[in-house]
Symmetry: C2
Subunit: 235 residues, 2 copies
Protein backbone atom coordinates (compact mmCIF):
# COMPACT_ATOMS: atom_id res chain seq x y z
CA UNK A 1 0.00 0.00 0.00
CA UNK A 2 1.42 3.38 -1.00
CA UNK A 3 2.47 5.55 1.94
CA UNK A 4 3.63 8.98 0.83
CA UNK A 5 3.98 12.50 2.18
CA UNK A 6 4.22 15.19 -0.48
CA UNK A 7 5.09 18.52 1.14
CA UNK A 8 5.08 21.97 -0.45
CA UNK A 9 8.19 23.05 1.42
CA UNK A 10 10.80 21.70 3.81
CA UNK A 11 10.87 24.85 5.89
CA UNK A 12 8.40 27.47 7.06
CA UNK A 13 9.40 31.12 7.43
CA UNK A 14 11.16 31.53 10.77
CA UNK A 15 11.25 27.79 11.39
CA UNK A 16 14.04 25.25 11.11
CA UNK A 17 14.42 22.53 8.48
CA UNK A 18 11.45 20.09 8.51
CA UNK A 19 10.45 21.27 11.98
CA UNK A 20 6.76 21.97 11.23
CA UNK A 21 6.19 18.47 9.86
CA UNK A 22 8.31 16.34 12.22
CA UNK A 23 5.33 14.92 14.17
CA UNK A 24 3.82 13.61 10.91
CA UNK A 25 7.21 12.25 9.81
CA UNK A 26 7.69 10.40 13.07
CA UNK A 27 4.48 8.46 12.41
CA UNK A 28 5.16 8.11 8.70
CA UNK A 29 8.57 6.53 9.17
CA UNK A 30 7.78 4.72 12.45
CA UNK A 31 8.99 1.36 11.09
CA UNK A 32 12.28 2.74 9.73
CA UNK A 33 15.60 2.96 11.51
CA UNK A 34 17.44 4.35 8.47
CA UNK A 35 16.11 6.36 5.55
CA UNK A 36 17.67 6.80 2.12
CA UNK A 37 18.11 10.48 1.26
CA UNK A 38 18.21 11.67 -2.35
CA UNK A 39 20.10 15.00 -2.33
CA UNK A 40 20.30 15.37 -6.13
CA UNK A 41 18.30 18.64 -6.27
CA UNK A 42 21.14 20.49 -4.45
CA UNK A 43 19.43 23.74 -3.32
CA UNK A 44 21.66 26.78 -4.00
CA UNK A 45 24.13 24.33 -5.53
CA UNK A 46 25.31 22.87 -2.19
CA UNK A 47 27.07 19.50 -2.29
CA UNK A 48 25.42 16.12 -1.76
CA UNK A 49 27.40 15.77 1.47
CA UNK A 50 26.36 19.15 2.91
CA UNK A 51 22.75 18.57 1.99
CA UNK A 52 22.65 15.08 3.50
CA UNK A 53 24.22 16.41 6.69
CA UNK A 54 21.51 19.06 6.97
CA UNK A 55 18.70 16.54 6.48
CA UNK A 56 20.35 14.04 8.84
CA UNK A 57 20.36 16.61 11.64
CA UNK A 58 16.60 17.12 11.33
CA UNK A 59 15.89 13.38 11.31
CA UNK A 60 18.22 12.77 14.26
CA UNK A 61 15.71 14.63 16.42
CA UNK A 62 13.18 11.84 15.78
CA UNK A 63 15.85 9.12 16.13
CA UNK A 64 16.02 8.18 12.47
CA UNK A 65 19.30 7.80 10.61
CA UNK A 66 19.77 9.17 7.12
CA UNK A 67 22.10 7.90 4.44
CA UNK A 68 22.73 9.79 1.21
CA UNK A 69 22.27 7.86 -2.03
CA UNK A 70 25.60 9.26 -3.28
CA UNK A 71 27.36 7.21 -0.58
CA UNK A 72 26.38 3.95 -2.29
CA UNK A 73 28.29 2.39 -5.13
CA UNK A 74 25.02 1.41 -6.81
CA UNK A 75 22.13 3.89 -6.60
CA UNK A 76 19.86 1.13 -7.90
CA UNK A 77 20.73 -1.18 -5.01
CA UNK A 78 20.39 1.70 -2.57
CA UNK A 79 16.80 2.20 -3.76
CA UNK A 80 16.04 -1.52 -3.78
CA UNK A 81 17.21 -1.94 -0.17
CA UNK A 82 15.75 1.27 1.30
CA UNK A 83 13.42 1.07 4.31
CA UNK A 84 12.15 4.58 3.61
CA UNK A 85 13.05 7.32 1.13
CA UNK A 86 13.25 11.11 1.34
CA UNK A 87 13.90 13.31 -1.69
CA UNK A 88 14.79 16.86 -0.72
CA UNK A 89 14.05 20.11 -2.54
CA UNK A 90 16.24 22.26 -4.72
CA UNK A 91 16.30 22.38 -8.49
CA UNK A 92 13.82 20.01 -10.16
CA UNK A 93 15.65 20.01 -13.53
CA UNK A 94 18.80 18.84 -11.79
CA UNK A 95 16.97 16.24 -9.69
CA UNK A 96 15.17 14.75 -12.70
CA UNK A 97 18.37 14.71 -14.77
CA UNK A 98 20.21 12.83 -12.03
CA UNK A 99 17.39 10.31 -11.52
CA UNK A 100 17.46 9.49 -15.24
CA UNK A 101 21.25 9.52 -15.45
CA UNK A 102 21.47 7.01 -12.60
CA UNK A 103 18.71 4.95 -14.16
CA UNK A 104 16.51 5.01 -11.06
CA UNK A 105 13.42 7.01 -12.10
CA UNK A 106 11.33 3.93 -12.84
CA UNK A 107 12.83 1.89 -10.01
CA UNK A 108 12.01 4.62 -7.49
CA UNK A 109 8.44 4.81 -8.76
CA UNK A 110 8.00 1.04 -8.42
CA UNK A 111 9.59 0.95 -4.97
CA UNK A 112 7.23 3.63 -3.64
CA UNK A 113 4.18 2.15 -5.38
CA UNK A 114 5.01 -1.11 -3.61
CA UNK A 115 4.72 0.52 -0.21
CA UNK A 116 8.10 1.90 0.86
CA UNK A 117 7.30 5.09 2.80
CA UNK A 118 8.34 8.18 0.84
CA UNK A 119 8.72 11.83 1.72
CA UNK A 120 9.15 14.58 -0.83
CA UNK A 121 9.60 18.28 -0.22
CA UNK A 122 9.45 20.92 -2.95
CA UNK A 123 11.40 19.44 -5.93
CA UNK A 124 11.09 16.04 -4.23
CA UNK A 125 7.32 16.59 -4.29
CA UNK A 126 7.21 17.88 -7.84
CA UNK A 127 8.47 14.54 -9.11
CA UNK A 128 5.53 12.73 -7.48
CA UNK A 129 3.25 14.10 -10.20
CA UNK A 130 2.93 12.95 -13.79
CA UNK A 131 5.50 15.43 -15.04
CA UNK A 132 7.79 18.16 -13.75
CA UNK A 133 6.14 20.65 -16.08
CA UNK A 134 4.63 22.77 -13.33
CA UNK A 135 7.84 23.37 -11.40
CA UNK A 136 8.89 26.92 -10.54
CA UNK A 137 12.55 26.11 -11.06
CA UNK A 138 15.06 27.42 -13.55
CA UNK A 139 16.12 25.05 -16.37
CA UNK A 140 19.77 25.00 -15.33
CA UNK A 141 20.32 21.59 -16.93
CA UNK A 142 18.56 19.74 -19.80
CA UNK A 143 16.85 16.57 -18.56
CA UNK A 144 16.28 13.58 -20.90
CA UNK A 145 12.53 13.90 -20.25
CA UNK A 146 10.05 15.90 -18.20
CA UNK A 147 8.15 12.74 -17.17
CA UNK A 148 8.38 11.94 -13.47
CA UNK A 149 7.27 9.30 -10.94
CA UNK A 150 3.51 9.45 -11.47
CA UNK A 151 2.76 8.45 -7.87
CA UNK A 152 -0.39 10.58 -8.08
CA UNK A 153 -2.51 11.11 -11.22
CA UNK A 154 -2.07 14.90 -11.39
CA UNK A 155 0.65 17.54 -11.21
CA UNK A 156 1.82 19.74 -8.36
CA UNK A 157 2.93 23.29 -7.98
CA UNK A 158 4.80 23.43 -4.66
CA UNK A 159 5.47 26.77 -2.93
CA UNK A 160 2.23 27.96 -4.50
CA UNK A 161 2.18 31.73 -4.32
CA UNK A 162 -0.93 33.90 -4.57
CA UNK A 163 -0.70 36.97 -6.81
CA UNK A 164 0.51 40.04 -4.91
CA UNK A 165 -2.21 42.61 -5.57
CA UNK A 166 0.16 45.47 -4.74
CA UNK A 167 2.94 44.32 -7.05
CA UNK A 168 4.00 46.50 -9.96
CA UNK A 169 6.00 43.65 -11.44
CA UNK A 170 4.83 42.58 -14.88
CA UNK A 171 6.31 39.06 -14.92
CA UNK A 172 3.71 36.29 -15.02
CA UNK A 173 1.94 35.31 -11.81
CA UNK A 174 1.97 31.66 -10.82
CA UNK A 175 -1.67 31.40 -11.88
CA UNK A 176 -0.86 32.76 -15.36
CA UNK A 177 1.96 30.24 -15.74
CA UNK A 178 -0.33 27.35 -14.82
CA UNK A 179 -2.91 28.69 -17.28
CA UNK A 180 -0.21 28.55 -19.98
CA UNK A 181 0.45 24.91 -18.99
CA UNK A 182 -3.25 24.21 -19.45
CA UNK A 183 -3.21 25.69 -22.94
CA UNK A 184 -1.31 22.52 -23.93
CA UNK A 185 -1.93 19.94 -21.20
CA UNK A 186 -5.09 18.50 -19.65
CA UNK A 187 -3.49 17.30 -16.37
CA UNK A 188 -4.95 18.97 -13.24
CA UNK A 189 -2.48 21.01 -11.18
CA UNK A 190 -2.66 21.39 -7.41
CA UNK A 191 -1.08 24.55 -6.02
CA UNK A 192 0.24 23.56 -2.59
CA UNK A 193 0.91 26.52 -0.29
CA UNK A 194 3.87 26.39 2.09
CA UNK A 195 2.75 24.44 5.17
CA UNK A 196 0.43 22.11 3.23
CA UNK A 197 1.13 18.54 2.26
CA UNK A 198 -0.60 15.61 0.67
CA UNK A 199 -0.91 12.35 2.52
CA UNK A 200 -1.20 9.33 0.23
CA UNK A 201 -2.34 6.06 1.83
CA UNK A 202 -3.00 3.42 -0.78
CA UNK A 203 -5.38 5.11 -3.20
CA UNK A 204 -6.53 7.75 -0.72
CA UNK A 205 -5.08 11.23 -1.16
CA UNK A 206 -5.80 13.83 1.54
CA UNK A 207 -4.83 17.49 1.84
CA UNK A 208 -3.07 18.07 5.18
CA UNK A 209 -1.95 21.12 7.14
CA UNK A 210 -4.02 24.16 8.08
CA UNK A 211 -4.09 25.92 4.70
CA UNK A 212 -6.33 25.69 1.67
CA UNK A 213 -4.86 24.48 -1.62
CA UNK A 214 -5.68 25.88 -5.07
CA UNK A 215 -6.80 23.45 -7.75
CA UNK A 216 -6.41 24.26 -11.44
CA UNK A 217 -8.21 22.28 -14.12
CA UNK A 218 -8.07 22.88 -17.84
CA UNK A 219 -10.79 25.27 -19.06
CA UNK A 220 -12.22 25.73 -15.57
CA UNK A 221 -11.97 28.42 -12.93
CA UNK A 222 -9.50 27.62 -10.14
CA UNK A 223 -11.00 26.18 -6.97
CA UNK A 224 -9.97 26.52 -3.30
CA UNK A 225 -9.84 23.22 -1.40
CA UNK A 226 -10.22 23.03 2.38
CA UNK A 227 -7.76 21.13 4.60
CA UNK A 228 -8.66 17.43 4.85
CA UNK A 229 -10.12 17.52 1.33
CA UNK A 230 -10.18 14.12 -0.32
CA UNK A 231 -8.33 14.22 -3.66
CA UNK A 232 -8.54 10.49 -4.37
CA UNK A 233 -10.73 11.01 -7.44
CA UNK A 234 -8.78 13.89 -8.95
CA UNK A 235 -7.28 13.11 -12.35
CA UNK B 1 26.10 45.10 -38.72
CA UNK B 2 23.95 43.69 -35.95
CA UNK B 3 21.13 46.01 -34.82
CA UNK B 4 19.18 44.59 -31.91
CA UNK B 5 17.01 45.76 -29.04
CA UNK B 6 16.67 43.27 -26.20
CA UNK B 7 14.03 44.46 -23.74
CA UNK B 8 13.25 43.06 -20.30
CA UNK B 9 9.51 43.56 -20.74
CA UNK B 10 6.97 44.70 -23.33
CA UNK B 11 4.92 46.62 -20.83
CA UNK B 12 5.54 48.72 -17.74
CA UNK B 13 3.11 48.73 -14.82
CA UNK B 14 0.27 51.12 -15.63
CA UNK B 15 1.46 51.57 -19.22
CA UNK B 16 0.21 50.17 -22.51
CA UNK B 17 1.91 47.54 -24.67
CA UNK B 18 5.41 48.69 -25.83
CA UNK B 19 4.52 52.30 -25.02
CA UNK B 20 7.63 53.09 -22.91
CA UNK B 21 9.99 52.00 -25.67
CA UNK B 22 8.23 53.29 -28.81
CA UNK B 23 10.62 56.24 -29.37
CA UNK B 24 13.57 53.83 -29.48
CA UNK B 25 11.64 51.44 -31.74
CA UNK B 26 10.81 54.23 -34.19
CA UNK B 27 14.53 54.86 -34.68
CA UNK B 28 15.43 51.17 -34.61
CA UNK B 29 13.00 50.23 -37.37
CA UNK B 30 13.22 53.51 -39.33
CA UNK B 31 14.02 51.72 -42.60
CA UNK B 32 11.18 49.19 -42.28
CA UNK B 33 7.65 49.51 -43.59
CA UNK B 34 6.65 46.03 -42.44
CA UNK B 35 8.02 43.90 -39.60
CA UNK B 36 7.74 40.17 -39.18
CA UNK B 37 6.21 39.25 -35.82
CA UNK B 38 6.94 35.92 -34.13
CA UNK B 39 4.02 35.24 -31.76
CA UNK B 40 5.05 31.68 -30.83
CA UNK B 41 5.48 32.41 -27.09
CA UNK B 42 1.70 32.99 -26.72
CA UNK B 43 1.45 34.76 -23.32
CA UNK B 44 -1.40 33.30 -21.21
CA UNK B 45 -1.97 30.87 -24.08
CA UNK B 46 -3.58 33.45 -26.43
CA UNK B 47 -3.69 32.59 -30.14
CA UNK B 48 -1.13 33.67 -32.73
CA UNK B 49 -3.83 35.85 -34.31
CA UNK B 50 -4.82 37.64 -31.10
CA UNK B 51 -1.20 38.22 -30.18
CA UNK B 52 -0.26 39.58 -33.60
CA UNK B 53 -3.27 41.91 -33.50
CA UNK B 54 -2.13 43.29 -30.15
CA UNK B 55 1.41 43.91 -31.36
CA UNK B 56 0.18 45.38 -34.66
CA UNK B 57 -1.86 47.98 -32.78
CA UNK B 58 1.22 49.20 -30.91
CA UNK B 59 3.32 49.40 -34.09
CA UNK B 60 0.54 51.17 -36.00
CA UNK B 61 1.13 54.18 -33.76
CA UNK B 62 4.61 54.55 -35.29
CA UNK B 63 3.35 53.77 -38.81
CA UNK B 64 4.87 50.33 -39.11
CA UNK B 65 2.93 47.32 -40.33
CA UNK B 66 3.23 43.94 -38.63
CA UNK B 67 2.73 40.53 -40.15
CA UNK B 68 2.59 37.35 -38.09
CA UNK B 69 4.92 34.52 -39.13
CA UNK B 70 1.99 32.08 -38.83
CA UNK B 71 0.35 33.83 -41.81
CA UNK B 72 3.11 32.60 -44.16
CA UNK B 73 3.14 29.19 -45.79
CA UNK B 74 6.88 28.94 -45.22
CA UNK B 75 8.26 30.33 -41.94
CA UNK B 76 11.74 30.01 -43.44
CA UNK B 77 10.89 32.27 -46.37
CA UNK B 78 9.15 34.68 -44.01
CA UNK B 79 12.41 35.03 -42.07
CA UNK B 80 14.55 35.25 -45.20
CA UNK B 81 12.44 38.09 -46.63
CA UNK B 82 11.87 40.06 -43.43
CA UNK B 83 12.84 43.76 -43.28
CA UNK B 84 12.75 43.66 -39.48
CA UNK B 85 11.78 41.09 -36.87
CA UNK B 86 10.02 41.26 -33.50
CA UNK B 87 9.70 38.27 -31.19
CA UNK B 88 7.16 38.86 -28.43
CA UNK B 89 7.14 37.55 -24.87
CA UNK B 90 5.22 34.71 -23.30
CA UNK B 91 6.50 31.23 -22.57
CA UNK B 92 10.13 30.64 -23.56
CA UNK B 93 9.79 26.83 -23.64
CA UNK B 94 6.98 27.15 -26.15
CA UNK B 95 8.80 29.75 -28.22
CA UNK B 96 11.99 27.69 -28.42
CA UNK B 97 10.05 24.51 -29.26
CA UNK B 98 8.26 26.26 -32.13
CA UNK B 99 11.46 27.82 -33.49
CA UNK B 100 13.06 24.36 -33.64
CA UNK B 101 9.92 22.66 -34.94
CA UNK B 102 9.73 25.15 -37.81
CA UNK B 103 13.44 24.78 -38.42
CA UNK B 104 14.15 28.50 -38.12
CA UNK B 105 16.34 28.82 -35.01
CA UNK B 106 19.59 28.91 -36.94
CA UNK B 107 18.13 30.88 -39.84
CA UNK B 108 16.82 33.55 -37.49
CA UNK B 109 20.23 33.82 -35.81
CA UNK B 110 21.98 34.24 -39.16
CA UNK B 111 19.44 36.77 -40.41
CA UNK B 112 19.88 38.96 -37.33
CA UNK B 113 23.67 38.55 -37.30
CA UNK B 114 23.64 39.81 -40.90
CA UNK B 115 22.01 43.07 -39.87
CA UNK B 116 18.23 42.71 -40.03
CA UNK B 117 16.92 44.86 -37.14
CA UNK B 118 15.53 42.72 -34.34
CA UNK B 119 13.44 43.44 -31.28
CA UNK B 120 12.88 40.97 -28.47
CA UNK B 121 10.81 41.42 -25.34
CA UNK B 122 10.87 39.00 -22.40
CA UNK B 123 10.88 35.47 -23.94
CA UNK B 124 11.88 37.11 -27.25
CA UNK B 125 14.87 38.56 -25.37
CA UNK B 126 15.71 35.36 -23.54
CA UNK B 127 16.44 33.64 -26.83
CA UNK B 128 19.06 36.27 -27.73
CA UNK B 129 21.41 34.72 -25.17
CA UNK B 130 23.44 31.53 -25.50
CA UNK B 131 20.73 29.41 -23.93
CA UNK B 132 17.25 29.73 -22.48
CA UNK B 133 18.48 28.29 -19.19
CA UNK B 134 17.92 31.45 -17.18
CA UNK B 135 14.29 31.94 -18.12
CA UNK B 136 11.67 32.37 -15.39
CA UNK B 137 9.07 30.43 -17.35
CA UNK B 138 7.34 27.16 -16.62
CA UNK B 139 8.41 24.12 -18.69
CA UNK B 140 4.95 23.62 -20.23
CA UNK B 141 6.43 21.87 -23.27
CA UNK B 142 9.69 19.90 -23.85
CA UNK B 143 11.95 21.66 -26.36
CA UNK B 144 14.46 19.71 -28.49
CA UNK B 145 17.26 21.81 -26.96
CA UNK B 146 17.82 24.72 -24.58
CA UNK B 147 20.32 26.35 -26.98
CA UNK B 148 19.12 29.65 -28.44
CA UNK B 149 20.20 32.35 -30.90
CA UNK B 150 23.51 33.38 -29.32
CA UNK B 151 23.25 36.96 -30.59
CA UNK B 152 25.13 38.05 -27.46
CA UNK B 153 27.85 36.04 -25.68
CA UNK B 154 26.02 35.75 -22.33
CA UNK B 155 22.61 34.88 -20.91
CA UNK B 156 19.72 37.07 -19.81
CA UNK B 157 17.23 37.03 -17.00
CA UNK B 158 14.40 39.34 -18.13
CA UNK B 159 11.88 40.71 -15.61
CA UNK B 160 14.70 40.58 -13.09
CA UNK B 161 13.20 40.85 -9.62
CA UNK B 162 15.04 41.89 -6.48
CA UNK B 163 14.44 39.80 -3.35
CA UNK B 164 11.51 41.09 -1.30
CA UNK B 165 13.04 41.63 2.14
CA UNK B 166 9.59 41.48 3.77
CA UNK B 167 8.54 38.24 2.11
CA UNK B 168 7.80 35.19 4.23
CA UNK B 169 7.77 32.98 1.13
CA UNK B 170 10.42 30.27 1.19
CA UNK B 171 10.58 29.60 -2.57
CA UNK B 172 13.93 30.49 -4.14
CA UNK B 173 14.67 34.13 -4.95
CA UNK B 174 15.72 34.96 -8.49
CA UNK B 175 19.28 35.43 -7.25
CA UNK B 176 19.31 31.95 -5.68
CA UNK B 177 18.06 30.44 -8.94
CA UNK B 178 20.82 32.13 -10.93
CA UNK B 179 23.34 30.92 -8.35
CA UNK B 180 22.09 27.37 -8.99
CA UNK B 181 22.63 27.97 -12.73
CA UNK B 182 26.20 28.99 -11.97
CA UNK B 183 26.83 25.79 -10.02
CA UNK B 184 26.83 24.08 -13.44
CA UNK B 185 27.40 26.79 -16.06
CA UNK B 186 30.10 29.45 -16.51
CA UNK B 187 28.05 31.78 -18.75
CA UNK B 188 27.50 35.28 -17.24
CA UNK B 189 23.85 36.22 -16.63
CA UNK B 190 22.50 39.74 -16.85
CA UNK B 191 19.40 40.44 -14.76
CA UNK B 192 17.46 43.07 -16.74
CA UNK B 193 14.90 44.95 -14.66
CA UNK B 194 11.58 45.94 -16.24
CA UNK B 195 12.20 49.17 -18.16
CA UNK B 196 15.78 48.28 -19.13
CA UNK B 197 16.96 47.07 -22.49
CA UNK B 198 20.18 46.23 -24.29
CA UNK B 199 21.06 48.00 -27.49
CA UNK B 200 23.33 45.98 -29.77
CA UNK B 201 25.03 47.83 -32.64
CA UNK B 202 27.57 45.65 -34.35
CA UNK B 203 29.80 44.41 -31.53
CA UNK B 204 28.81 47.18 -29.13
CA UNK B 205 26.35 46.27 -26.38
CA UNK B 206 24.96 49.07 -24.20
CA UNK B 207 22.57 49.04 -21.24
CA UNK B 208 19.66 51.40 -21.93
CA UNK B 209 16.79 52.80 -19.86
CA UNK B 210 16.99 54.55 -16.51
CA UNK B 211 17.57 51.51 -14.28
CA UNK B 212 20.63 49.61 -13.17
CA UNK B 213 21.06 45.99 -14.23
CA UNK B 214 22.43 43.17 -12.07
CA UNK B 215 25.30 41.12 -13.41
CA UNK B 216 25.98 37.60 -12.17
CA UNK B 217 29.26 35.82 -12.89
CA UNK B 218 30.24 32.36 -11.73
CA UNK B 219 32.03 32.37 -8.35
CA UNK B 220 31.78 36.16 -8.02
CA UNK B 221 29.55 38.52 -6.10
CA UNK B 222 26.79 40.07 -8.20
CA UNK B 223 27.48 43.57 -9.53
CA UNK B 224 25.16 46.51 -10.23
CA UNK B 225 25.69 48.16 -13.63
CA UNK B 226 24.74 51.77 -14.34
CA UNK B 227 22.60 52.77 -17.34
CA UNK B 228 24.76 53.31 -20.44
CA UNK B 229 27.22 50.66 -19.23
CA UNK B 230 29.21 49.11 -22.06
CA UNK B 231 28.81 45.32 -22.06
CA UNK B 232 30.72 44.67 -25.25
CA UNK B 233 33.45 42.73 -23.47
CA UNK B 234 31.21 40.61 -21.26
CA UNK B 235 31.46 36.92 -21.93
Amino acid sequence: MKSIIIASTSTLHGGSYLNYILPALQLHFKNCTTILFIPYARPSGISHEEYTQKAAEAFASINIKLQGIHEFESPEKAIQNAEGIFTGGGNTFLLVTQLYKNNIMQLLAEKVKNGTPYLGTSAGSNICGLSMQTTNDMPIIYPPSFQTLGLIPFNLNPHYLDPDVNSQHMGETRETRIKEFHAFNAIPVLGLREGSWLEVKGNKITLKGSLKARLFKQNQNPEELEPESDLSNLK
